[in-house]
Amino acid sequence: MIPKTRLSAEELAVNFADLHPAFSRDEALAEAARCLYCYDAPCTRSCPTGIDVPGFIQQILHDNPLGAAETILDENIFGGSCARACPTEVLCEGACVDRTLLTDPVRIGRLQRFATDAAAEKNIRFFEAGPDTGKQVAIVGGGPAGLSCAFHLRRLGHAVIVFEARDVAGGLNTIGLSPYKVSTEFALTEIEPIRDMGVEIRLGETVDADRLGALRQSHDAVFVAVGLGPTKSLPLPGADLPGVDEALDFIFPAHLGPLVDCRVGDRVVVIGAGNTAIDVATQAVRLGASSVTIAYRRGPEDISAFAYEYELARQDGVAFEWYVRPAAFVGTSTVEGVRVQPVHPDDLSDAGATRIIPCDQAIMALGQTPIVDRLGPLGEGVFSGGDCISGGAEIVDAVQDGKVAATEIDDYLKGSGR
């Protein structure tokens, strides 16, 4: 059994504090003053949810943070979470023309957080349910796609029930992100306004193919946003050894219980080099692992993790082993190391003898497995979106999928109906 973290609650609180502290009012005003207020703004065009970024920044500048929050949440009801978790360097901030003019983009994510925090602190409810249409929609999956869809359907006046398999709402937005990016508590507060609009969220409700069929019969439309399944596993010798874990099982506990109850090895090897692998590695460091190594079968130029995430891992002291292919997990009663096969950078062919990277915990971060197929053909009146369709994207993409689906469902309901 992997032991609990050896760090104190105080040490953990420091390690898991906000990666980017909230802007003070003066910081926000100074940053907002940098925005040029572009026309047909590249930042807005680069936001999957199309938030009017120059508009909300000008609202901040003109001392209207609540108006700014309304602008944001109107397009993205998870605007506070996305402010914290979005890879802004490749989205809005990546497109910011100030990168060309002044090297540094306007810190759009942190301004978005400033605005949404202002609204959250005052517990403002900006949006109301539309006039009742008499139509009922079932949503399978209470993650960002499902809840975003639910929010927009309620604004249009449709009744919505959300069926969530887990005991907590919000999907990966609540339990799948690094806690130093989005805290569990904050993620849950963003769900309350949706609930308050009359969205019923039923927790612990699993929907299989049969039940989906029944929901389709009992409702005017169904939106399927079940997300993805467990992390892909490597069919390698020793994969069933205790201490060989998968990424999400490692990340979830940081949200579901106190950090002092989280378990982490002393020497951790992470397999994979995507953004989730980075999250796992940095979480392991922050939980107190003495050494954390990311092992990847290709080189640094091939990783799918964003440059910013890679830099974060390096700053956290994560070691990288490039051009090594995992060959086996070794150990007697528990994992004691990962046997890796070095490969040639050019063609990834085997290069020399295998060697063992010692560890007492090996975590696979290789992407998640699809599960939507288990529901069978979806049929007429059943819509779908989010990670289960995209194969795994950002929270902001799931939110947009839900928003688009709500419009499609509304069109459908206004047309032939069931």
Binding site: L29, P42, T44, V90, L101, P105
Partner: protein, 462 residues
């Protein structure tokens, strides 16, 4: 070339440089004036003296306009003239003049509108050894309600009369400080001239309410929840002041030296006032904002600009631009400029486009260039980031980059796009041939009458 000589001489008053502190809170005491001279100011106009009992001030008394993050673009006050006794002030002026014999010390005056009162104050102030007097006919708040300040400056006859009283006994140069709260500032200027004033200072502050507190609904600045109009100044008023300085400097019926005042914060501001006719410049708000040390930047900027331009003394350029300002009717209708966008410098913010589209003549074309095409051509200095497996291009989004181009045929050369463009050197206004003969409005009318030119067609609008 030796260091340019920036000694100023105006109406016979000399100062080591043209930078004076205006009559205002920074010149309220010997302590402040001493610090100012030690910091490098060439002269001061002592904060306005009156007869005892001294004025009583309210709390609070200043307000400011911030502009998108920058503080104090505009500033106002409801402070009155000095609230210290006349004897204290006179003793300190005498002491300062003894310590700084080569600096200019003028004293601003405002007393009851009687000949006796003015004779008395002029004599007592000149007894200190002060270099000159400045008659405060400008303050728009408080004292004006008691028949002083702008109540005098707004009536040319009063301006003339009170100036005459001062001149009847004055041994030193008399500057008349004008209020901008008039329809035509030349009228009180001519009145001062008729009374044989030696110079004119302008502008004093502009009537203003700085704003309303949106929580308390009280005006700013507030005194126990109420307010009163105050005197507006600071960088925001500079263009108004420049216009009035030029009007005074160019008026053939006035012909007096001018000390320029109004929003001067940078050396460029100071030089512009001097080009439009100011022999010295007076500063207040900038010194209240940043302290006396700003004079170092003023002097350094002036000296190096003179070096670059080959000017050896102030008289080489003071007033040089006065004659460049005339009536609209004198402007050349054949002159034409057209905007030009340097594509390699463009950051694709679209500000020029939307300004022209909504605010001007719809003369900028927007074309969505597919990102792949944009990346295939040389991109100037566009920032590109490789991150994960993505290539992120600043200014791009939704798969395209906007290209903005001037429609040269319909551009009227209004300058707007070049004014809003945030990139140095990206949009320039370039001279073009209009095909018309050089002519002003009157000449155009004459040529039309003789059939020498066709009527100029209005520009196209979308």
């Amino acid at each position: 070339m030796s260091r340019p000589d920036i000694t100023a001489s105006i109406a016979g008053i000399r100062s080591p440089n043209p930078f004076w502190l205006a009559s205002a809170p920074p010149t309220n005491s010997a302590y402040q004036v001493r610090r100012a001279f030690e910091a490098g100011w060439g002269g001061v106009v002592w904060k306005t003296l009156g007869h005892d009992p001294a004025a009583v001030n309210v709390s609070s008394r200043y307000g400011a306009v911030d502009y998108d993050g920058r503080k104090m673009m505009g500033f106002n006050n409801i402070e009155l003239i000095t609230d210290r006794s006349l004897e204290d002030n006179l003793a300190e002026i005498r002491q300062i003049k003894r310590e700084f014999p080569n600096h200019a010390v003028l004293v601003s005056l405002m007393v009851e509108s009687t000949r006796e009162a003015w004779h008395d104050i002029v004599k007592r102030v000149e007894d200190t050894g002060a270099d000159g007097l400045e008659l405060n006919f400008g303050c728009p708040h408080g004292m004006s309600e008691r028949g002083m300040g702008s109540a005098v400056g707004q009536v040319p006859e009063y301006t003339c009369m009170v100036t005459e009283w001062a001149k009847e006994v004055a041994q030193t140069p008399v500057f008349v400080k004008l209020t901008p709260n008039v329809t035509d500032v030349r009228m009180p200027g001519r009145a001062a001239r008729r009374a044989n004033a030696d110079a004119i200072s302008l502008i004093n502050t502009i009537n203003s309410i700085m704003g309303v507190d949106l929580q308390t609904l009280a005006p700013r600045p507030q005194v126990a929840g109420r307010g009163s109009h105050g005197g507006y100044c600071g960088p925001a008023v500079k263009p108004i002041a420049l216009n009035m300085v030029q009007q005074i400097a160019s008026d053939p019926e006035i012909g007096l030296p001018v000390s320029g005042i109004g929003g001067i914060q940078t050396w460029q501001d100071a030089v512009e006032f001097m080009l439009l006719g100011a022999g010295s410049v007076q500063v207040c708000t900038a010194a209240m904002h940043y302290g006396f040390r700003i004079v170092e930047q003023l002097e350094s900027g002036l000296v190096n600009w003179m070096r670059e331009r080959g000017f050896s003394c102030l008289s080489d350029f003071v007033g040089a631009s006065v004659g460049r300002v005339g009536t609209w009717n004198e402007l050349d209708l054949s002159y034409k400029v057209v905007a030009d966008i340097e594509q390699d410098a463009c950051i694709h913010c679209g500000l020029c486009y939307i300004a022209c589209e909504d605010g001007a003549h719809q003369s900028i074309a927007r074309t969505e260039i597919p990102l792949a095409d944009f990346m295939a051509e040389p991109m100037g200095n566009t920032a590109v980031l490789e991150s994960g497996r993505l290539t992120v291009v600043a200014g791009a989004g939704a798969g395209y980059v906007n290209r903005y181009e001037i429609k040269k045929d319909s551009c009227v050369g209004c300058n707007l796009c070049s004014l809003v463009c945030p990139v140095s050197g990206c949009i320039s206004m370039q001279e073009a041939d209009s095909g018309l003969p050089s002519m002003n409005w009157g000449e155009y009318q004459a040529k039309l009458a003789t059939g020498e030119v066709e009527p100029i067609q209005p520009p196209g609008h979308a």
